[in-house]
């Protein structure tokens, strides 16, 4: 007897090395749990994240992608996350314009001191992805009729 | 070459301040300027409504501005109050969509503050040139010590009026020099004479007026000029009447030799 496989989302979290990755470490050392579906990729700065990476993740079957960086004004590289902010605003707007669920992408500013916030953010984001279910749209924009 | 501008005289200039208007027209003609009175204008409202939700009180100015926009885009004003109201309403139409939208919808027009509002004095300075005026003076008012009374309306708020330095204006002094007289700079020339309470609260008005007049006198002024009918009325009515106060256009006409024309 085959049990229907339960939906386990694939979620990629890009975290900047100086704030958010450290925030994730703090969440870890404070034992603040969040679902194992989240896998973190460390980048030097949120501005290193090319929209291409996010699309790539969706292309390869990710159900959600979240990008975390230092709070605006606190960037280790002073201005990196300001560019991130504009780029991601544009990318999200485009995805929405194409009719893709908005909730699948998110940007959050998490400082190195915000372990609690990191955990909360991840819990919320994963809950949202469960709500949205499997990502079919991005893989399915081409008409297969 | 004759310069032509739309002209907004305002109601007071048709009644109690006829001299202001009459001499302005005569002088303009002498200077080769055609002032084309807007065909159908109404009272500007005389005081600018500062609250953003006062729309109706702005409409007559909008109408005048819109008419001027279709007639060459420059509107010359003369009375300080009209200039103040029309300039600021014009700015509202350009910069405050919440006001512009309502006004436009009500009047069924599409006006967005494109008209240039020019005070007669600014016109003299920037379009004619005080040096040109000087060259056209036939009857220089030599030896007359004249204080300019600016009042509030032309100068403030300077960010909106953009008329002159609000604390140390010079345009009227330059004008006085151009017509051959001696300007007397006194500190109260930009302080309020209390015109708005000239009727209801004479005591307050009198206090304000004497502050202006005393200062002008102490600084050596023998007469004052103004562009504002309300100031003129108030300075005369609530002052000691020792200091003659006239409209600047009257002196201009006198200097240009067209006063009696």
């Amino acid at each position: 007897m085959q049990v229907e496989k339960q939906f386990k989302p694939k979620i990629v979290a890009f975290c900047c090395n100086w704030c958010s990755y450290a925030g994730a470490d703090l969440a870890g050392s404070s034992r603040l749990s969040y679902p194992a579906d989240v896998k973190i990729i460390r980048v030097p700065c949120s501005c290193r994240v090319n929209p291409l990476f996010i699309l790539r993740a969706f292309e390869r079957g990710a159900d959600g992608v979240i990008l975390c960086g230092c709070h605006p004004g606190d960037c280790h590289y002073s201005t990196g996350n300001y560019y991130t902010r504009r780029r991601m605003t544009m990318l999200f707007s485009m995805l929405d314009y194409l009719g893709v669920e908005k909730g699948r992408t998110r940007v959050e500013w998490v400082s190195a001191a915000e372990g609690v916030k990191f955990s909360t953010v991840m819990n919320n984001f994963v809950a949202k992805i469960y709500e949205l279910g499997e990502n079919v749209k991005l893989g399915d924009l081409r008409c297969k009729k | 070459m004759v310069m032509t501008f739309s002209y907004y005289p305002g109601c007071t200039l048709k009644t109690k301040a006829k001299e202001l208007d009459k001499y302005a027209r005569a002088s303009a003609e002498a200077l080769g300027i055609e002032l084309k009175e807007l065909e159908a204008w109404q009272c500007c409202g005389a005081c600018y409504p500062q609250s953003k939700d006062e729309i109706a009180t702005r409409l007559s100015s909008v109408r005048a501005l819109n008419d001027a926009a279709r007639e060459g885009g420059v509107l010359v004003t003369l009375c300080s109050a009209c200039h103040h109201v029309i300039t600021r309403v014009n700015r509202d139409m350009a910069l405050k969509p919440e006001i512009a939208d309502k006004a436009n919808r009500y009047l069924e027009i599409d006006y967005h503050g494109t008209t240039e509002v020019l005070h007669y004095l600014t016109m003299l300075r920037d379009r004619v040139g005080f040096d040109v005026i000087k060259s056209k003076v036939v009857n220089p008012l030599k030896g007359r010590k004249i204080g300019a009374y600016y009042g509030c309306m032309l100068l403030r708020p300077s960010k909106e009026m953009g008329f002159d330095d609000p604390e140390n204006p010079t345009i009227m002094e330059d004008f006085i020099r151009a017509i051959g007289a001696t300007p007397v700079v006194y500190q109260m020339r930009n302080e309020c004479c209390g015109g708005y309470v000239a009727m209801k609260d004479k005591a307050q008005a009198k206090k304000n007026v004497s502050r202006v007049l005393d200062n002008a006198k102490n600084c050596g002024a023998e007469e004052l000029i103004t562009a504002c009918p309300l100031c003129l009325y108030n300075l005369n009515e609530n002052g000691d009447k020792a200091m003659p106060v006239t409209y600047f256009t009257e002196l201009l006409a006198e200097a240009l030799g067209v006063k009696e024309a």
């Binding site: - | 109690k16 609250s51 302080e191 708005y196 209801k200 609260d201 009325y233």
Partner: protein
């Protein structure tokens, strides 16, 4: 009562667009005011009372008719608070209430002296009654 004062505060803000909390209480408005001595509440007090929601008191005060709208305070305020605009908003609130008229046509004849410019009457009507 508290709710009402909050509502009035909002109303004043909507009318003026002025955030009175920007005031740093330097008093430059009152230092510049030509009607200071005539006013029960001085310009700086106006600003402070609006911040605190004491608008009823201001509406009831004759001070709202003593402001000359000369904009000296607006011009000189280092914080962009525009006290004259605030005063006018409160005057508007008072006048918009029934019976809020400060200046009535019946008063006109006795004030007219033959030289009064139209402008004085028009502005008095515009400014002091609804």
């Amino acid at each position: 009562m508290h709710n009402n004062s909050d509502k009035q505060k909002d109303q004043v803000f909507r009318m003026t667009g002025v955030d009175t909390r920007k005031c740093m209480k330097c008093g430059k408005c009152s230092a510049s005011c030509p009607s200071f001595n005539e006013m029960q509440y001085r310009p700086h007090q106006f600003v402070d009372m609006v911040t605190k929601g004491r608008i009823e008191e201001l509406m009831a005060s004759p001070s709202i008719y003593h402001c000359l709208s000369c904009f000296a305070c607006v011009e000189r305020c280092p914080r962009g608070v525009e006290p004259a605009v605030v005063v006018e908003a409160i005057r508007n609130l008072a006048e918009r209430k029934q019976g809020g008229t400060y200046f009535s046509p019946d008063e006109v004849p006795e004030l007219i002296d033959g030289t009064v410019p139209q402008q004085a009457l028009v502005s008095a009507f515009r400014k002091y009654r609804k």
